[in-house]
Subunit: 383 residues, 2 copies
Amino acid sequence: MNYFSSNFKLGILGGGQLGKMLLFDTRKFDIQTYVLDPSDEAPCKIACNKFFQGDLMDFDTVYNFGKQVDILTFEIELVNLEALEKLENEGKKVYPSPKTLKLIQNKGIQKAFYINNNIPTAPSKTFKNLKKLVVDIVDSKLEMPFVWKCTEFGYDGNGVKIIRTLQDVENLPNVECIAEKMVEFKNELAVIVCRSPSGEIKTYPVVEMEFHPEANQVEYVICPARIDDKVAMKARAIALDVSKKFNHVGLLAVEMFQTFDDEILVNEVAPRPHNSGHYSIEASYTSQFENHLRAILDLPLGNTVSKVAGIMVNLVGEDGFSGDVVYENIQKILGWDGVTPHIYGKKQTRPFRKMGHVTIVNEDINKARKIAEDVKNTIRVIA
Amino acid sequence: MNYFSSNFKLGILGGGQLGKMLLFDTRKFDIQTYVLDPSDEAPCKIACNKFFQGDLMDFDTVYNFGKQVDILTFEIELVNLEALEKLENEGKKVYPSPKTLKLIQNKGIQKAFYINNNIPTAPSKTFKNLKKLVVDIVDSKLEMPFVWKCTEFGYDGNGVKIIRTLQDVENLPNVECIAEKMVEFKNELAVIVCRSPSGEIKTYPVVEMEFHPEANQVEYVICPARIDDKVAMKARAIALDVSKKFNHVGLLAVEMFQTFDDEILVNEVAPRPHNSGHYSIEASYTSQFENHLRAILDLPLGNTVSKVAGIMVNLVGEDGFSGDVVYENIQKILGWDGVTPHIYGKKQTRPFRKMGHVTIVNEDINKARKIAEDVKNTIRVIA
């Protein structure tokens, strides 16, 4: 198949920032792209070859879009699965496969998959609805604290809550959910795996999420993770195993806990480019986006090794500000070595909206970490 | 001035591959761009915010385009200078300034500038037309061999010819030209300088053009140049001096000869992103394109240091092939470490047409050089 400057068409479901960053690589290779997104202001709207506005959860919209392209991928999991299945059954290449997506879209099914495949994960129980979960609490069958997760449609921290008392359950939606044992962990880690249809497979180095010491919020994604080589090797081996067992094609971001006795437990996965891999644009020989593209086109995978250490800081809308976005002090941070802001292109900020990220690269990870802290304390997303 | 996700508009004259690569950075920062290019198939057409088709040499077209933007830059020197001058006189920010461009657009004026400013360069003489040059040859006032260059509108080797006998002058156009002493050189080098309106200035490392041992053609652009530190320092100092004397804003690529007694002679300059800086996308902390953007927006300049060694190989249309382009063996080279093809997006190949380039990065410059040779011998641009 000739992809380069040809009539080949790659379809991308979702036109957000992940798609936007993927388009840097389709443009670099001059590969034609069609993008479907519900928003008229999607960051992908320019830089794709053809933009379609439409509902990603609507069967006909997704199916008709898919019919027009040669290979179909997605940058968001919340897409109409039945349309993808029909397209795949009709012979369309859909990567990752809807079979994989089906196992991942529902967290209850995802959990069951880990258990059936001997993948280490925290114990959990699935409930058809919130009422059944409450019954278990009342009957003392469920020990608090635990982590409540709705099985579907959660995103970016929505759909996850720590339950310490019965009161915490109030106001949760009455939907299918899981109760997961709260794991005490030393580190939260992630490994991105890329795998092609012909089975070539590579892992990126382990990254570490550093949390704010008080607020329970990831502040920095750090590559490489500051952990033991043995633990890193174990994490990469488990991520590789997860990807193979899913028979996954494209990128799979595997989020994991490192417990205090250095066990690795798989938390959850995302079958697409991931926030934890953004550092790779500046730090790696081949970025996660380019490797996603290479994987789904069954091209040889690129080198996942880092040239230098990389740290990523998310840019989210400051609390208390809504309206036309202003990146306060961005000129200041641009003056520091190895600092690259990525502005996703959303014109309006809202409290905690993901508006961009900043990558800090340096030969010395400790210097990068220091600059990252300065970045975090300097730039503000306001209106 | 707020550039990021704002109403600010950057205008770019020319929509070719240099503009296309600049757009990766305007997109990354979400800076709005308007692009003017004569071709309906310009590589910039997608990924800019608004595309205008029109003649870059036409006064009204360029003037009216410039009126619509806040800052104006160009990716090609062959633009209507009078329109830029009028815009600048009316208060529009035009970077590089038409004053600089005027000194550079005409090679006779450029040469005179070097001499008046004590910048080392090969001796030359300017002729109003070819006939006057022939008279000098016949009168034995001009020693052969020498290098003939037309003073205006030359591009990519057009407009340059080595004259060894009177016969070589036949078929040259009867235009203003210079006759330049043929310099024996050890190396052809280039240094890219970036400079902002507020005077911040940085140079990239010296790159070396490696020529084919038989054909007189650049095969590899190598960074860092494999030369003495002392020579490299001298080359960077001269490039810095040239940029300052031009009072240049944006990128200035300074091409130089290293003579056999290690003198540095300035050959010519280009006031824009340059082929000799393409390696910087993968190899440098900040690419030449991002630094051009930072410079013309008067943002702090990024780090010009390299993370790893970088080598660039041009992809030009194979002789004997015209038509719908095919990049033969591109999948093969994608399988090698640190290899990134850039496909400019021209659908039709022609003999020697610049269709793309390949960057090879590696910690070890000798390994990069070996892989670059394999790339050169493997990929072919055919139809």
